[in-house]
């Protein structure tokens, strides 16, 4: 790990030359593929399948961006990053964008000089405990040993939560989700805490998921979303509006099944037409082809399809839409208009 940090610092020092000036979109086009930072493996969000092909909700965002640029959702190099290495990887230019359930916070946006391009999952930090521990509330956890991924916002939330409730705990810092799972299952920690979606995904991978429960407390707001480096607004726009295109597509009923029909000829709905490039010049304004959004939607489906396929209620992870429903359905998922 020491190496990672050192190399990171060296890259910042040495390679930062390219970062300040170059236009990321041009670099990506010249390279022919998108370098997208993802987790080292979190089932449902980003994990390689049996054939080594990355799949998941965050991966879907990467693929949509690649499809918007190249028309090819497979033109992505996935770079696994840990909670600690992700920001260095992005700042140094090793990756073009980071789609790694990363919480949008003030200091990351302002101080670390990153640009969050939207929210693709509204999350909150929860606690996972074994059922036989007999705990029904996080406030009963006085003196418990807690496994916590180091270098995350959850680490700080945890400290705040226990402090404000005046109870003590014993943190066990871990590096990756897999390590946390192993420690938790071996009983080296009583509680595992991270974003509730991550806990659901981790629990789904257990042998007996029913023996473990999520405590009712959600102790923080964790808006997760893709992010890029500060200072290259054109590139930030590409990522932001690709995500918005997926969200708008769901709102307008454009799915991966009907997108090619709808984009074949102008429809009655002008917003669908502008989105799919049959009317207006939105693609050219972004520096992309006119059918960029069509390709992005065709890659893995609209926002709702991505959700249902990777983490929805019919998957082992089984997350309800909740806050992540469209605003028309009482959720927070809301895209600015395509106009």
């Amino acid at each position: 790990m020491k190496k990672t940090v050192l190399f990171g610092a060296l890259t910042v020092a040495g390679l930062a030359a390219g970062m300040a000036s170059a236009a990321t979109l041009d670099d990506v086009k010249a390279r022919g593929s998108l370098n997208c930072g993802v987790t080292t493996g979190l089932v449902g969000f980003a994990s390689p399948d049996a054939n080594g092909v990355w799949d998941g909700f965050d991966v879907g965002v990467c693929r949509a961006v690649a499809a918007a640029i190249f028309g090819d959702p497979t033109a992505v190099e996935f770079v696994p990053t840990t909670g600690k290495t992700r920001f260095t990887a992005l700042a140094s230019g090793e990756i073009d964008m980071l789609a790694r359930n990363t919480t949008w916070t003030f200091s990351r946006d302002v101080d670390l000089k990153f640009e969050f391009t939207g929210v693709n999952y509204y999350d909150g930090q929860g606690f996972l405990v074994p059922k036989d521990l007999g705990v029904s509330s996080a406030k009963d956890l006085d003196g418990a040993t807690v496994c916590i991924q180091t270098g995350t916002t959850t680490e700080l939330n945890l400290a705040d939560f226990f402090r404000s409730n005046n109870i003590s705990y014993d943190p066990v810092p871990i590096e990756t989700n897999a390590e946390g799972q192993q420690q938790y299952l071996a009983g080296a920690c009583d509680v595992y805490t991270t974003d509730a979606s991550g806990l659901a995904s981790t629990r789904a991978a257990f042998e007996n998921p029913g023996d473990h429960v999520l405590l009712p407390e959600i102790i923080s707001k964790e808006p997760l979303g893709p992010l890029v480096r500060h200072g290259d607004n054109d590139w930030g726009d590409v990522v932001r509006w690709t995500l918005n295109a997926l969200i708008t597509a769901e709102e307008l009923g454009v799915t991966s099944a009907n997108v090619s029909d709808l984009s074949a000829a102008p429809t009655d709905n002008p917003e669908v037409n502008r989105l799919l490039g049959t009317e207006g010049e939105l693609g050219a304004m972004l520096g992309l082809e006119a059918d960029w959004a069509k390709n992005a939607i065709a890659a893995g489906g609209n926002y709702g399809e991505l959700f249902e396929k990777n983490i929805g209620e019919n998957t082992p992870i089984g997350l309800a839409r909740g806050l992540n429903a469209q605003w028309t359905e009482g959720g927070l998922i809301y895209s600015p208009p395509f106009r």
Binding site: M19, A20, G143, E155, D170, H230
Partner: protein, 404 residues
Amino acid sequence: MTSITDPPQGSFRLSMLINDTRYRSYTFQFIALVALIGFMAYLGMNLVRNLTAAGLNISFDFLGDPAGYDINQRPIEYDSQSSHLRASTVGIINTLIVAFLACVTATIFGVIAGVLRLSNNWVVSKLMAIYVEMFRNVPVLIWIIIIFSIMTVSMPSPRAFRGDDPSSSMLFDAFAFTNRGVYIPKPVFDSGGWIVVAVFILSVIGIFAYRRYATKKLYATGQLLPTFWPTVAMFFVPVLLFYFILGRPITLEYPSLQGFNFKDGIQLRGSLIALWFALAIYTGAFIAENVRAGIQAISKGQTEAAASLGLRPGRIMNLVILPQALRVIIPPLISQYLNITKNSSLAIAVGYMDVTATLGGITLNQTGRAIEAVLLLMLFYLTISLLISAVMNVYNNSVKLKER
């Protein structure tokens, strides 16, 4: 026409910088130095320019901000509202703790294995050879993870100690071996407790003084004073005497299961044990080879000469071989101690909160001050390594061959 050739002119010509062997090496060294400075300056300028372009700066102000995270092993007072500087200090102390423990243990392992590897007993020497080759040739990170995983998986969790018929129980009701670490009793000092400790330290000093006196007397008069029994007596009698006179001022606080974990007592964390033990056995294998080399460097004639004077094997080792072998052993031992200190930065692999994990890990990550944090880390490791070298060199000077 004079036949006397002129003595070489003292005048210096520029071409001599290349053609004259007296100056040529300086020329090239100077060029190399300028190139190196130029390269460093280029990197430095590049860094500053790019940081400015990215709107960042180099500032150490973050050290005063509240850290916001908790640390599990806190040798000094610390909570999540303490500053990043304090968190780094906790990390530094944790590094020093594990480095010190590992250095002591590695030395013990190394000396035992090194001496035994030269044993005439075939089984013992081969066993030691296997130990050395096995541990020396597998990366220390692997050993750390192996030991940690074995502890986590094979030891019971504190839950197993609970209930009327627990599946695990404490050893002597004083030691609890769990997958979160080993809990041992903690001495509690009442009012007179520190006097007993002081007496103990004084008696240890007394033992050394007495043995030195005995050696001096032996050299001066040839009279052999007994050392073993007086040493044992001086070690135990005064301490026990004071302990009971002062009314047993030191008591033990036993660990007990309360809530989720064992409370009271001292917790040796699984991460500390894994790191400590892995560093000790790994580096111990190297030290064993140093010790073996040191002993073998002393010619066999020395042993034979000592034996012909009628010295017993133990005395031959202590009086003849080791004092000479130490001169060979100490210098490589210094670098092994430095290796232990530097390798302790692998701590994060098992979640041990050393300075690399606090300052170079969480603080770096939460503040994003990568360059500052890494510079501070380099400064710390450099300082501590130079200190260890300095101390060991003083010791080396005291045992090396005194030339007159």
